[in-house]
Symmetry: C2
Amino acid sequence: MHISPTISAAFGPSYRNVQVGQVAWLTPRTPLMLECGQSVARVPLAFQIYGQMNADKSNVILVCHGLTGDQYAASVHPVTGRAGWWSELIGEGLPIDTNRYCVIATNVLGGCMGSWGPKSIDEATGKPYGIHFPVVTIADMVNAQVALVDALGIEKLFAVVGGSMGGMQALQWAVAHPARVCAVMPIATSSRHSAQNIAFHEIGRQAVMADPDWCGGDYATHQKFPSKGLAVARMTAHVTYVSQASLAEKFGRGLQNRDAVGFGFDADFQVESYLRHQGKHFVERFDPNSYLYITRAMDYFDLAHSAGGVLAQLFAKSPVRFCVISFSSDWCFPTAESKVLVQAMNSAGANVSFAQVITDKGHDAFLLDVPEFKSLVHGFLEGCAKVKGV
Amino acid sequence: MHISPTISAAFGPSYRNVQVGQVAWLTPRTPLMLECGQSVARVPLAFQIYGQMNADKSNVILVCHGLTGDQYAASVHPVTGRAGWWSELIGEGLPIDTNRYCVIATNVLGGCMGSWGPKSIDEATGKPYGIHFPVVTIADMVNAQVALVDALGIEKLFAVVGGSMGGMQALQWAVAHPARVCAVMPIATSSRHSAQNIAFHEIGRQAVMADPDWCGGDYATHQKFPSKGLAVARMTAHVTYVSQASLAEKFGRGLQNRDAVGFGFDADFQVESYLRHQGKHFVERFDPNSYLYITRAMDYFDLAHSAGGVLAQLFAKSPVRFCVISFSSDWCFPTAESKVLVQAMNSAGANVSFAQVITDKGHDAFLLDVPEFKSLVHGFLEGCAKVKGV
């Protein structure tokens, strides 16, 4: 919730508070070279810090968020007023124990909560970038995080932890910056975005871009907002985050505030009402262009691409300790995809453990109160902390 | 393709050709009472007939279509120019052999290929019904088919066969009109639409209704057409019709006409291009309001509802012979839902066989060239024909 004086001082005069939270204006030693070819000399990155860094800064855990997450992992979200998305996991006495670890959570590049993204003002035009923002990748997101970690004077992170797209970032850290991180937990993720996931993302993007209020990405200038398109995108994605079994159990064919179907197009069924609610609330907190950019970053993620498709090659001689976690009912990032990762790590002789948590909560399980998952996170971090003497 | 003189004569002067195909104007003995409470004295139903009826009209198979199908099961579609959706299955020497059987395929109530639907002109206003069309159900669709079968002088159908929503109609025939049908094949279907399927349908409807060109359902009057919304709806549905494995095998992360990703929002990936193609072509042949109505009819389908939720009760003393078929990779209508049906039928002592076809083609398998499926259809019909002496 607060930046300790030591850390905020690291940014000197370029540090400032903005409405959505704390933002570091980073000036990396060498400009940030994006994968698309553009370079950025100075980049704003929003972040939150939970807990205190120890003297040698060896207790820092970087927590990476998923598609629609942000830096408010363990504190109240300033827009929604709701608890942080990992408030079950991060805090005093919780699996990621802020009495022991210092947790940094950033908002990704391309995001809409203060980091450099399509909502940011393009200094060349004085207007928001909109779709003139460069297409960023998971590697770009991680490189910006590296610049932040540098600015904070942290030599080596104790751990990088994340679920879904957060897991992609965690993997990217392990592969691109293996000397900068001790332990990595990729949760409910994959080394490459699947065709089905690309398909669902493309549907979401088409829904946003089909909304005339999207205005070719320039809705801010036109004082419009493609809320209907973004709501449809969110509804589609949301169905992929939950399991068929959990929808059946939670809602089944239950009716919403009525005894019989209404022979019309109102939300007769609870599941319809629930989905509409999901769509409606999402548009209050998320930027439609950010949705396009971040889904694109996930689509582009293919860890083995740089190694000619040979995933194992990336983990040969890796000093990183891994714990890969999947959820049995996750059909968005199925256990099979975690196993591909684990197999590659094992065949390269990497230090990896793997657990599949049995649950009917689907992909969203990593955001929910799942005791077995929580003890896995706790146990793995404890084990690594013992070895590293943290 | 042609109506035999005997049959067309059955309609007398009220029979006529319309652009989309042959339409019977049915005047049932008692008005059609829709489940929503409205009654209809005279209803147009479009249909096609393949093969010849035998003298005692005992060789008639009613083929029921899925959500976006129509009466052109085995003949060229007049709008798209493509082969019928079951041209693999229906024809001379094919599993539903038109040398032996007479196949009738109707366009469902609520459809857009000539049957009474939201595109039809409301005589009260002289304009298309739009969303003033009554919400019809699977039972209503079947009752209209019964009126057609009556008009054609068919006492008892040899079989009713259908996949997906067609399977729902087949089940409805068996339960509501058991004396009018010998054999029923419900394929890739369920006794009740699942919460997940309702969710995906609701997304599709929201996509259509979010398109300003939908004009509150009155696009025809305003000379508009919500093609973007309908395309998004189709893309969403289409992903549910194919399996994750088939998308991975067919497209994987393959790029579309390029060597590297384009760092933009064009269709970089083949799977994106494929989906856009699906959306684009669908809007050329389908009516957006029909999409709303037919998805709603599927959502409302809950066979056991009338029996207090006890499915088995519906099959007690059923004279119908059943063959239930599912496909291993169908996650839209999973095998588990077919097993619920089979268990209920078995526990009621009904004559039922069941087969799960192992395939990675997903829900769409029932529309594709799957040899094992085709021999199941052939074999079951042959077996029933032997018993019935057809």
